[in-house]
């Protein structure tokens, strides 16, 4: 008998026909769920659009009065002074300096903690230390700022007396404090990423005679690289967006300098201060908030484009 005869005979005998591989009903529930999930993700686009809208008009009105060239290449940032100058370089350099010092602290410490938690820590130790580090992320930024100002700065001065210390502010100390604050972002997320590398990879490496050091650094770490880079980029974004710690520990003087003992102003600190300060809304000084915000947005966008490219390259190799 041929297959169709079986089907026909089955139908005649009251038995259900041979199953098919496509869905028997259109599955509207699935489509609805997919639409809902898409809208969750698309919300981010809505937020970005809203941010761009709220930034765009005041930025445009700002650039009617200040030339973009002067804005982007000027070295004097004094928007609220009578003889105003709008050169944004000092605060850009201030932001980058803080991020630099923060990452110098956070990346080694965060990665070391993450690798330890994922590969070396015994189970009960990990259960205590991982949440303990996450508390670091939750300490109010005011407290961290005051800690940096009152405790850390004198300490660093005692340890490194040969640097020229003037005044209570220091961008290096502020950067260290920010770095400490973002360590949990790096350690927790990269720990999760490394732990999810399949055990088979590790065991295969051990079977071939690798040491624990080699397994951790040459097998697990590269396999988890996309998660680790995501963690680092998230931490860097957090460092860029930090306002209070920097204001308290690094002051608000827009000095264009690389000296770690100097007082500087970051873009976010400027925005935070001016938005909650006494400047009248609608004036050009107030509009600088939006211009600086727009510049910051563009800068982080570029950084993220670059990071996504990088992660994509690495991810292809290991999956």
């Amino acid at each position: 008998m041929v297959a169709s005869d079986y089907a026909a005979s089955g139908e005649r005998a009251g038995v259900s026909p041979r199953p098919r591989l496509e869905a028997t009903s259109p599955r509207y529930g699935e489509k609805a769920i997919k639409a809902f999930l898409f809208s969750c993700a698309a919300l981010s686009v809505a937020i970005t659009t809203a941010i761009v809208i709220s930034l765009l008009l005041p930025t445009a009105s700002f650039f009617e009065q200040v030339s973009p060239v002067e804005f982007l290449t000027g070295t004097e940032w004094a928007p609220a002074f009578a003889d105003a100058s709008f050169g944004v370089l000092p605060i850009v350099v201030g932001t980058l300096t803080v991020v630099f010092w923060a990452l110098i602290v956070a990346i080694p410490v965060g990665l070391a903690s993450g690798i330890y938690l994922a590969e070396y820590a015994p189970r009960h130790v990990r259960k205590v230390i991982k949440p303990a580090l996450e508390v670091l992320a939750g300490i109010p930024t005011v407290a961290i700022g005051l800690f940096a100002l009152v405790f850390l700065r004198p300490l660093v001065e005692d340890v490194l007396p040969f640097l020229e210390w003037r005044g209570p502010f220091s961008v290096g100390v502020a950067g260290i404090a920010v770095g400490l604050m973002i360590v949990p972002l790096i350690s927790s997320i990269s720990d999760d990423a490394m732990r999810s590398v399949p055990g088979g990879l590790r065991e295969g490496a051990y079977a071939l005679g690798a040491t624990k050091f080699e397994v951790s650094t040459r097998v697990v770490f590269p396999a988890a690289i996309s998660g680790i880079v995501a963690a680092i980029v998230l931490a860097a974004s957090r460092a860029i967006g930090e306002t209070m710690v920097v204001l308290l520990a690094a002051g608000a003087s827009p000095n264009l300098t690389f000296d770690p003992t100097a007082s500087i102003l970051t873009m976010t600190a400027f925005i935070g201060q001016t938005a909650t300060g006494d400047i009248a809304t609608g004036t050009i000084q107030y509009d600088t908030i939006f211009a600086v915000g727009a510049l910051l947005f563009v800068m982080t966008l570029t950084m993220n484009l670059f990071a996504i490219r990088l992660v994509r390259r690495f991810r292809e190799i290991y999956e």
């Binding site: 004094a78 100002l149 005044g167 204001l247 003087s253 909650t276 009248a280 809304t281 107030y286």
Partner: protein, 315 residues
């Protein structure tokens, strides 16, 4: 897992007890007959005054809910001219743009001085100088000034040759606007190479305390609280050296650095009995309020003037 469950029960119990304590902590009595809400927002300099006023007022009128926000003088006016607050706290007079905005929305207002403040020039206790004239201050703080040490100041007595460490408030603050206007003749006119202390005025105190050549200008309450750590200079506004104090500010002799702190109630808000009662209370009890907040009370004259302004808004 029994161990985890016990832990969970314990944590929940502790959380429940805490929430009950917190939630039931408020008192519940029914005093005066006024009720409603009064919203203030604006300068964080004026906020301690408004908070003290709110607290004293609420002691007598528990059914009125008074809230005080600190989004800054500019932010406060923005909300005020949008009709979102009843009273705006301000450490500077209302700006032209803001007057326009209020006008466009039909909000009428009056500027009411609720306290006096003395901008104090603070230096390190080791600094032998006791008095600076307004001209000397101008020389130090003027835009483009190149004075780098105390020795370069004209006619300084006694001689002092430490390098100058300048500390100043944020450029978005009313203190900055007032000082630059009073000393340098124009709001915002000041040299740019000084230490901007950002948000926390206490840092300026720390800076001056640690630096023999330090100088910082700040509101009076910061000097009063730190008299053991810094020294206030007397200022010669043309009639001799005058130290900042309650008497000199009220007497008008501490010039040019005595200033007023303001609230701006709106005409529409004052039609509500609770708001009117609050503003009148604020002015009538301003001495107690100013003392609680660390500022300088109004003179009798100023108090009468304030009450008259409230009258004019409500008639």
């Amino acid at each position: 897992m029994p161990r985890n469950r016990k832990y969970l029960c314990l944590v929940t119990a502790v959380a429940a007890v805490t929430l009950v304590m917190v939630g039931c902590g408020g008192s519940d009595d029914n005093g005066g007959e006024l009720s409603g809400t009064v919203r203030l927002d604006g300068s964080s300099t004026v906020a301690p005054l408004s908070e003290a006023a709110a607290e004293l007022f609420q002691n007598e009128n528990p059914d009125v809910q008074v809230t005080v926000g600190t989004s800054g003088t500019g932010g406060g006016f923005e909300k005020f001219c949008n009709g979102e607050t009843e009273i705006s706290d301000a450490s500077r007079p209302i700006a032209d743009d803001e007057v326009e905005a209020c006008g466009a929305n039909g909000i009428s207002f009056e500027q009411i001085t609720v306290a006096n403040d003395a901008l104090s020039v603070l230096v390190n206790p080791e600094n032998p100088v006791d008095c600076l004239s307004a001209e000397q201050l101008n020389q130090i703080w003027a835009p483009g000034s190149k004075v780098k040490s105390w020795g370069e100041i004209d006619a300084l007595e006694p001689a002092y040759d430490e390098s100058l460490e300048l500390y100043g408030p944020g450029t978005d603050s009313g203190t900055f606007d007032y000082f630059t206007d009073a000393i340098n003749g124009e709001e915002g006119a000041q040299r740019t190479d000084y230490n901007n202390i950002g948000e926390d005025d206490n840092t300026g105190i720390v800076g001056v305390e640690g630096s023999p050549g330090g100088m910082f200008y700040v509101g009076f309450s910061y000097y009063v609280e730190n008299q053991d750590r810094v020294k206030a200079l007397a200022v010669d506004g043309g009639d001799g050296c005058v130290e900042p104090s309650l008497e000199t500010v009220q007497g008008g002799t501490y010039t040019p650095l005595g200033r007023g702190l303001f609230i701006y109630p709106s005409g529409a808000a004052l039609e509500k009995p609770e708001v009117l009662a609050f503003v009148q209370f604020y002015i009538e009890n301003q001495a107690e309020i100013a003392e609680a907040a660390g500022y300088i009370p109004l003179t009798d004259e100023q108090e009468e003037e304030a009450l008259a302004k409230v009258e004019s808004l409500t008639s």
